[in-house]
């Protein structure tokens, strides 16, 4: 299943792009597994995802835990802790 991936703030800068469409293998079932898989895609991805504790996730625009399942998701976004307001 094609998945739209979005990156924001320093995650986007480290990866060098704001979005990409990926097709992870069926064994990738959770956000954590998706991070592991994405980290293996390039040295930039690996660097961006190095400190997992600093990575926040939204699945289909809803804040989600790393343990959350991604079955049926269309859009997954990765970003640092938010600093608006």
């Amino acid at each position: 299943m094609a998945l739209n991936i979005l990156y924001f703030a320093w995650v986007r800068e480290k990866i060098g792009r704001g979005d990409e469409t990926v097709t992870p293998p069926a064994t990738v079932e959770t956000v954590a597994q998706l991070i592991d898989w994405l980290a293996g895609q390039s040295p930039k991805h690996s660097e961006a995802f190095k400190n997992r504790a600093q990575i926040r996730v939204a699945v289909d625009q809803t804040h989600s835990a790393h343990a959350a399942k991604i079955a049926g998701a269309k859009e997954v976004a990765f970003f640092p802790p938010v600093t608006g307001g």
Binding site: F8, W10, Q61, P80, V82, T83, G84, G85
Partner: protein, 156 residues
């Protein structure tokens, strides 16, 4: 409710007037303004703006998240109206970043809801600040104290 995520600057006086005018039956209106701090005093010789700010946003989710926060506030307090305006893109020193207004019959609920909205917005709304000064640009780090403030409102 009036929820806006916008690139353009807004006037805090005009927004407050508009909000008050459409809530004439509310006895209490509480507003909060978060503004970009003016760091320009640091370089008095040139008088130039030595700090600018860029706000990154997740457009679709930002609107949705602010609407969810407003809906949650309305479920907790008897509010007549809520307005939330949040900027994104480049900001100049002393410009408003965020405007939150609550209207209620009495001040207690308006104050509490306004504080709740800001505390949750700070930890949930998908915006990221990047500051640029003489030594370069850096992303603002999230504060643990913001997490602590947000946790106070969690239902047990």
């Amino acid at each position: 409710m009036d929820i806006r995520v916008q690139k353009d600057a807004f006037g805090i006086g005009a927004e407050t007037d508009t909000f008050a005018a459409r809530n004439k039956t509310s006895g209490a209106i509480c507003t909060f303004i978060g503004q970009m701090r003016d760091f320009r005093g640091a370089d008095k010789q040139t008088g130039e703006a030595i700090a600018t700010m860029e706000l990154d946003a997740y457009p679709g989710m930002a609107d949705k998240q602010l609407l969810d926060l407003a809906t949650e506030a309305k479920s907790r307090w008897p509010l007549d109206d809520i307005a939330i305006i949040h900027r994104y893109g480049p900001l100049k020193p002393a410009e408003a970043i965020v405007f939150v207004a609550t209207a209620s019959a009495h001040r207690g609920d308006a104050f509490a809801a306004c504080e709740f909205l800001m505390d949750w917005l700070k930890t949930k709304a998908p915006f990221w600040k990047k500051e640029t000064g003489p030594s370069g640009s850096s992303w603002v780090a999230a504060l643990e104290s913001d997490d602590d403030r947000a946790k106070r409102w969690e239902k047990t």
